[in-house]
């Protein structure tokens, strides 16, 4: 059995009476690609925000690598190598693609103010390393030809990829991706899927992703958690989820129209 990496236990978040996340439990094991699905407003992003410290849960716990990280600041959680991307495209708009990803290497900085002012050997070596890593990451995400383009001038699909590249540059252990394929065309979606598979295989990065494109999720994920109205209604491998009565009901049945907006 693979090592337990992330454990969500009884996570609950109320927004002024609304139960956005309601007593959710699940686990993510090292090396897995896990999916978190559910209709609009099911609480997926809220759960991500709880895990990564952007929101404190009303109750419940988040354990990462045997450490209780409930309510810890996002930057501290990132330092523990748990890194997330955002549902809305999120990048450093005015910087070039290269500088965006280079900024993502922030935690790998090994020099101080003095080193940078005097451009010491330590500074130069470390910067060279970070620039190499940036270049590798860009190549990995098939974006190296765009490296001197301003992020804001990228196409939507490339902006999504850039978001992933920035997160990847931090060298995460667990990567949380909020709708990495949303708004992508078929070709881009397939490219995204192959990049994700590659980073899992080559770097051993564990991935938990939220996605509406079921084909994408089913093809990538070993384990899928389904949320509806903040509650977990099902969990299991793609085949079980596909046939699960509650899931079918939520996605195809009467609830569907009620939930989407």
């Amino acid at each position: 059995m693979a090592k337990l990496l992330l454990e969500i236990s009884q996570a609950t978040k109320y927004f002024a009476g609304l139960r956005a996340v309601d007593d959710v439990n699940f686990r993510v094991f090292e090396g897995q690609i896990c999916g978190l699905i559910g209709p609009n407003g099911a609480g997926k992003t809220t759960l991500f925000n709880i895990i990564t410290g952007f929101l404190s849960p009303t109750s419940g716990k988040v354990i990462f690598n045997e450490t209780d990280i409930t309510g810890t600041a996002p930057e501290t959680i990132a330092k523990m190598h748990l890194v997330r991307t955002f549902q809305q495209t999120n990048m450093f708009s005015h910087l070039t693609v290269f500088d965006n990803v280079l900024t993502g290497t922030f935690l790998l900085n090994r020099y101080n103010l003095w080193d940078s002012i005097w451009k010491t050997k330590n500074f130069r070596n470390n910067e060279d390393e970070l620039k190499k890593l940036t270049y590798q990451t860009l190549r990995y995400c098939e974006m190296e030809h765009l490296s001197s383009t301003r992020a804001s001038n990228l196409s939507y699909g490339n902006q999504k990829k850039l978001g992933l590249a920035i997160a990847l540059a931090t060298r995460p252990q667990l990567l949380l991706l909020d709708e990495p394929a949303a708004g992508l065309n078929n070709k881009e979606t397939m490219q995204m899927a192959s990049i994700l598979k590659k980073i899992q295989k080559d770097f051993g990065i564990t991935i938990l992703l939220v996605e509406h494109d079921l084909k994408f999720v089913m093809s990538l994920c070993e384990n899928i958690v389904v949320l509806n109205h903040g509650q977990k209604i099902a969990e299991g491998p793609p085949n079980t989820i596909k046939e699960h009565s509650k899931v079918v009901e939520v996605y195809l049945g009467t609830n569907h129209q009620h939930n989407s907006h």
Binding site: P74, A78, T96, T103, L113, S116, S148, I166
Partner: protein, 330 residues
């Protein structure tokens, strides 16, 4: 030292020939004021241009630097250099305290308003604390910096000699800032400007780095304030006024924020150009108001950014990767 470094070093050295060429004290005066405000504007650019923190209170640090070093030299009879060091230290501590109290809770315009309120607190304090600050009358006959050689004292009294000092500080500050903004620290500042949530998600403690930006910026503002006080030799509570708040803002916004170069361009427009065109002081404000308006409409990112765009259009092509080597454009 390799060839390019030698060329760089020589070109910086050559800047020191400026005071030798300019013997006319009037032009010397214009250039000294120019250099001082370049430093002041550079300090704001780090905060506004790079970190995205809007401050209407930078005069607090400018004024504090000027007052503290004036008091150190005049009342405590310390040497200018020690006085400057202490003034910078005091300002750094004050900036750290202000940052700790305000930056976590206050964002955007709220920080700007509070930072302006803080300048008025300083103004009130220097008016009230008469025994030390001479109150509303201000401090006069602030001595010029001196260097104590074994044989004699050299006082930087003349415009020509003072110009040496301010040029040295312009070079020191510009180089240090250039290195800072092109390091991991500078990238953290830019990340904060571009989006705090994303910055936090990649491990940047935004609160801490905003504080660091504020302290570095305040230190540089204090240096410019001190140079200012010891040059014009008299300062008063007016140094905390809207005038000194708005000057660096206008310079950085018109010149181009987040570029460093913008401070040089903006300050030249404000302090050098009018002198050559022979404007009256009142006219200067009017003309500059118009300039500000026009630049905000036609060049919202400032002149330096516009120049950068023009350069990119003509000289740089997109996607520069040759043989696996990435050329990064800043």
């Amino acid at each position: 030292m390799n060839k390019t470094n030698l060329i760089k070093a020589l070109s910086f050295l050559s800047l020191f020939s400026i005071p030798l060429i300019i013997s006319n004290p009037y032009y010397g005066d214009v250039l000294i004021i120019y250099c001082i405000f370049v430093i002041y504007a550079l300090s704001l650019d780090l905060l506004l241009g790079y970190t995205g923190i809007i401050s209407f209170g930078h005069a607090s640090f400018f004024g504090l630097g000027a007052y503290a070093s004036a008091i150190m030299t005049l009342k405590l009879h310390l040497s200018y250099w020690l006085g400057l060091l202490i003034a910078v230290g005091i300002t750094a501590v004050v900036a750290f305290l202000i940052g700790s109290l305000t930056l976590r809770k206050l964002k955007g315009i709220y920080f700007a308003i509070v930072s302006f309120a803080i300048t008025q607190v300083f103004r009130f304090l220097v008016v009230e604390w008469e025994t030390v600050t001479n109150g509303a009358a201000g401090i006069a006959s602030i001595p010029p910096p001196e260097i104590n050689l074994i044989f004699e004292k050299i006082a930087f009294k003349s415009e020509q000699s003072y110009l040496f000092i301010v040029i040295a500080f312009v070079i020191l500050v510009t180089l240090s800032l250039y290195r800072v903004v092109n390091s991991g620290l500078g990238r953290a500042f830019l990340a904060i400007r571009e989006g705090e949530d994303l910055a936090r998600s990649i491990g940047i403690d935004t609160c801490k780095y905003k504080k660091i930006a504020l302290v570095i910026s305040a230190i540089i503002a204090a240096i410019s304030g001190s140079l200012y006080g010891h040059y014009i030799s008299a300062i008063g509570p007016r140094i905390f006024s809207l005038h000194y708040v708005s000057l660096p803002l206008i310079i950085v916004i018109v010149g181009g924020k987040g570029t460093l170069l913008g401070a040089f361009i903006g300050a030249a427009l404000f302090f050098v150009l009018p002198e050559f065109l022979g404007f009256k002081p009142e006219m200067k404000m009017v003309i500059f108001g118009l300039l500000l308006l026009m630049s905000i409409i036609y060049m919202p990112d400032g002149i330096a950014s516009k120049l950068g765009q023009i350069r990119d259009k003509f000289f740089v092509k997109n996607g520069e990767i040759k043989n696996g080597k990435v050329t990064v454009r800043n």
